[in-house]
């Protein structure tokens, strides 16, 4: 737990190794688990995803920027920790013989890559917000602007997520020695993380902030319904209205 400034600086430089996805080196880090490394990843997740979230929320209000900057990294941390036990059990069951802490570290690595990519996109997101008509402008324009913000957010997050998982495959292959096992484990982890992550996002909404609703940290209806129910109802409304 005693992380010195020099260790931290050294580890920050090692972030580029993660981004390059060098399987040999990353696998050795996974085998030699240290708390310092986990703390570094948590810091990168908070800074990267936090900056992106703040830029995203700034369109609605500076207070929304603060809230989203806090909630966005929380989604990642809560998803990783909430699924930690399940992911740790799924790995050996699917043929990847690593411990609970190692599986947690690999997932943290993946989210760290995603957070670093999102952090690098945060100036772009801020530029997008600067060029989008504000909430105070006409309602018709805001509706288009709100939709555009949502679309841009989805595209950027999807890109970061895909890249993070693409980088994870060679590491899992190196650890398991089998491409099939690597893909099975990745698919299982993705499925459970998607299941829990989408619901945490649902509970912690709003992120961009709906112009029609006052700025709030959590929706008053936070624990009402769930993500998949809402998607089903939206599809039902679209098809059978």
């Amino acid at each position: 737990m005693n992380m010195r400034a020099s260790d931290l600086a050294l580890d920050v430089r090692q972030l580029s190794v993660l981004l390059r996805g060098e399987p040999g080196l990353i696998s050795s880090w996974v085998r030699g688990w240290t708390m310092n490394r986990v703390l570094l990843y948590i810091a990168v997740i908070f800074v990267g995803a936090g900056c992106y979230g703040a830029a995203m929320g700034y369109w609605r209000d500076p207070l929304q920027a603060f809230y989203t900057g806090l909630k966005f990294p929380l989604v990642i941390l809560l998803t990783t920790l909430g699924n930690g036990l399940l992911n740790g059990m799924l790995a050996p069951l699917l043929g990847l013989n690593i411990g609970f802490r190692q599986s947690l570290l690999v997932i943290f690595m993946s989210f760290t890559i995603a957070a670093a990519i999102l952090g690098s996109f945060s100036p772009l997101m801020l530029f997008l917000v600067w060029n989008t008509p504000p909430v105070s402008a006409l309602s018709g324009t805001v509706s288009v602007a709100y939709s555009f913000m949502q679309l841009a957010t989805v595209v950027m997050i999807a890109f970061a997520g895909v890249m993070a998982n693409v980088r994870l495959v060679p590491v899992l292959r190196e650890l398991s020695g089998s491409s099939a096992v690597a893909h099975k484990v990745l698919f299982a982890w993705l499925a459970v993380n998607l299941l829990l992550g989408s619901q945490i996002i649902w509970i912690l909404r709003p992120f961009i902030g709906n112009p029609a609703i006052p700025v709030e940290f959590l929706s008053v209806h936070a624990f009402e319904g769930n993500f998949f129910e809402a998607v089903f109802q939206a599809a039902q409304h679209l098809l059978f209205r």
Partner: protein
Amino acid sequence: MNGTNPGPLDNTPNPIKIPVSSAGSYMPPVIPSAPSGAAQPLGTNPAEQVPITGPVSAVEAILRQPRRVIFQLKQPNAGSVITSLLLIAVVCSLVYGVIVGTFSGGQQYWAAPVKIAAGLLISALICLPSLYIFSCLGGSQARLVEVFGLVAGLLTLMTILLIGFAPVAWVFSQSTKSLAAMGGLHLAFWLVATIFGVRFLHAGFSHLGTKSDGGMKVWVVIFVLVVLQMTTALRPIIGTADTFLPAAQDKKFFLSHWFDNLDADGGRSRKWKGDGN
């Protein structure tokens, strides 16, 4: 020339070998590929090791010896090279901005240069973090300072080329009243300059160990979009307006701004023809 008698090509480092088939007849010679710039390690040519001492030296190097610039960016004195490159980019964009300002005159003589120089620098800074991340994702070993240096080189090459286009732009700006035509012309010049700038950037990354250039292609699209949007966010640059920058409620996507200008220009043109008749 046959396989035993030496010919003029024997002086080359990779002589052409004429293979003989099993039937004894000569096969067509395999022409060796020319050594590419990327294959040769940086600094092997002594000319690349000559330090870049100032802006004049930097202009010459980026036009004639881009490998020398890339090599110098990997040296401990990279900071002074980057400073020189940025200085050239700022001066050249200011000069080109004055030419852009001659279309409308008045306040645009100083507003256009300021907006063009600031817009280019801000666009580069906005896109810098994503370029560094994309370079890492592509397997590059480049440090942030080297990536920053390559972006400075991109801006420098772009703006130097714009200076080359400046006399042409000035002639057109004195002879046309169409805002859309001038906008299109400046855009075309900027696109040509960007293509050459991106070539420099690509060469730089190929020397910094990039294994995949997919990320860089995505980044180039992002950079072009950001610069185009910046021209709309900082408008007016060519024309005139009551305010230095557009009001918050007048924010537009650049395509929407272009179409509005085309419509307005078409309206003016129709009105002029009507008056003439």
